[in-house]
């Protein structure tokens, strides 16, 4: 059975599995009430904090990072799309998202529907962590994972802002979350998930969040078409100040992402923390350095871009690397993303407004594959003595390719439906005058 065959099998199985999972509903809800160990309050405190850190990444972090890069006439549109899509994702999550990704039972692609509408969850329910006998309150786990879904769909918007309709964003989000995000989250993180079973390493969501969002963004941008005037007309960021603020908040919040993914307040979280510091620092500085080596000035936007590239790359590796492996990973991702954004994009000519693909997609791929390398104990990683780079690399690449294929197809479907229902793109006059006035009837600045 070739890898391609496996993939097709997987994809085909989804439609089936969605239905197959439904009957299990009732029994599982009952099972959820079984006796469980008590959560440690230190873990609970840390996981609640981490959850809020991820929320901070979205509002106002990503809103500012993305918003600062748009033209002022589209500022509110960008911020509102991000905010509203995150809110929508939260509601979808408690309705059918959580159960699809982390409900009991199900198969390698999605879980059972027994926890739809959070059925059976009480303040006393608990969710398992990576350590035996260590649990956290399930509501906290639901919340933590909820913020991941919310930020991932918001990240996708980076490639389509300044021209996509607000209503199209809403429709797209519902479908995309359902057919792309929830299954991939299940496959990577659920104990019966497909990639999890393969042994793919993804500490905090390099595939689920970044490759997924980046590739989906590229597909969406291609289907939507370029902004009027791109690339002839200059479209400078209206406030790099705000982008820099967003960058800072993303960095701070990302520790919820990365160190929070340890699910405990322990040494592993500490490792994820230091890695998230140094990989990011390296990312920021190496982008500026690469600019210098290419004859430009080291730029503020370069620093910000490198910070994000470093963060993206270290995400799957956060608890799976030593600090110096992380530094190398951050630096390499930053340099490659620089070239992808500065040379590849202009060459290919697609209009990824805010480089969601060029940074999250490309950086995510480097991070996911690089994790298979830096995990090695010979490079200071936490892998066991029997760790084999070659074998792990194959698994990592499999997970990456599968995610790319799955995200591409799913996004195409979601954009297609959004187009059918809403028309997808604003009128040229609205695009000209700005989506703030045209879509929301307001100006960002008066």
């Amino acid at each position: 059975m070739t890898f391609t065959q496996k993939l097709c099998g997987l994809a085909g199985a989804t439609a089936l599995s969605i239905f197959a999972a439904v009957p299990a509903w009732a029994q599982e809800a009952a099972a959820a009430a079984a006796a469980a160990p008590t959560p440690n309050k230190g873990d609970t405190a840390w996981m609640m904090t981490s959850t809020l850190l991820v929320l901070l990444m979205i509002l106002p972090g990503l809103q500012l990072f993305y918003g600062g890069l748009t033209r002022s006439k589209n500022m509110l549109s960008t911020m509102t799309q991000i905010g509203a899509v995150a809110a929508l994702a939260m509601l979808v999550w408690v309705m059918w998202g959580y159960t699809m990704a982390f409900g009991d039972g199900g198969n390698a692609i999605i879980s059972g529907f027994g926890k739809a509408f959070l059925a059976g969850i009480t303040p006393d329910s608990t969710a398992a962590t990576f350590s035996d006998g260590v649990v956290i309150p399930e509501y906290v786990f639901v919340s933590f994972q909820m913020t991941f879904a919310a930020i991932t769909v918001a990240l996708v918007l980076g490639s389509v802002v300044e021209r996509i309709k607000f209503s199209a964003v809403m429709v797209f989000a519902i479908i995309w979350l359902t057919i792309v995000y929830f299954p991939i989250a299940h496959m990577v993180w659920a104990s019966n998930g497909y990639f999890f079973g393969l042994g793919a390493l993804d500490f905090a969501g390099g595939t689920v969040v970044h490759i997924n969002a980046g590739v989906s963004a590229l597909v969406a941008a291609l289907m939507l078409g370029k902004r009027i005037g791109f690339p002839k007309e200059p479209m400078p960021p209206h406030s790099l100040t705000l982008t820099m603020v967003g960058t800072g908040l993303l960095w701070v919040g990302w520790f919820g992402f990365n160190a929070g993914s340890a699910l405990e307040a322990n040494g592993s979280a500490g490792l994820a923390m230091i890695n998230t510091f140094v990989a990011t620092a390296a990312g920021g500085l190496f982008w500026m350095l690469t600019e210098r080596l290419n004859g430009h000035k080291g730029s503020a936007l370069g620093f910000c871009s490198g910070i994000v590239a470093g963060l993206v790359a270290v995400t799957p590796a956060a608890g799976n690397s030593g600090p110096f492996g992380a530094i190398v990973l951050g630096a390499v991702a930053s340099v490659v993303c620089f070239y992808s954004v500065s040379f590849l994009k202009p060459k290919l000519g697609y209009d990824d407004s805010l480089d969601a693909f060029g940074i999250h997609g490309v950086g995510g791929i480097i991070g996911a594959i690089g994790t298979g390398i830096v995990y090695s104990p010979s490079l200071g990683g936490p892998g066991g003595d029997d760790f084999q780079i070659g074998a792990q690399l194959i698994i990592q690449i499999e997970a990456v390719v599968a995610t790319i294929v799955w995200a591409s197809i799913g996004t195409a479907i979601a954009i297609f439906i959004a187009k059918a229902l809403t028309g997808l793109r604003v009128k040229p006059e609205v695009e000209q005058e700005g989506l703030d006035l045209g879509e929301h009837g307001e100006r960002a600045y008066n």
């Binding site: 200059p234 479209m235 994009k345």
Partner: protein, 112 residues
């Protein structure tokens, strides 16, 4: 009366204002503009997208004065705003038919 309209470099505004106050000019109106001319703006690069802005920030100073003073106003500005570098700007002189002080309704040169 004349309207003297000068396009100058922003950091020269203080010098120009002082020079004019020295001449006894009691008022002027200033606005921020962008200039296109021989002086080219810096090239800005944002993630590989290169913009050679040919617009440079300038300050426009407008002074209405009586006909006799106009040549000296022009001269003072020309000297105060001069840095010898490309892009120092221009001075244009236009005729003004009437001037009114809103507060008092005075007209003509007493309105200035």
């Amino acid at each position: 009366m004349k309207l003297v309209m000068a396009i100058i470099k922003p950091f020269k505004l203080d010098d120009v204002r002082e020079a004019l106050t020295g001449l006894g000019i009691a008022g002027m109106t200033v606005s921020e503009v962008k200039g296109f001319g021989r002086q080219k703006g810096q090239t800005e690069i944002y993630r590989g997208a290169e913009y050679s802005t040919n617009m440079v920030p300038k300050i426009k100073v407008e002074i209405v004065c009586d006909d006799g003073l106009a040549p000296r106003v022009v001269e003072s500005i020309q000297q105060a705003a001069n840095s010898g570098a490309i892009g120092d700007g221009k001075i244009f002189v236009l005729d003004v038919g009437q001037a009114v002080r809103i507060r008092t309704g005075e007209t003509g040169e007493t309105a200035l």
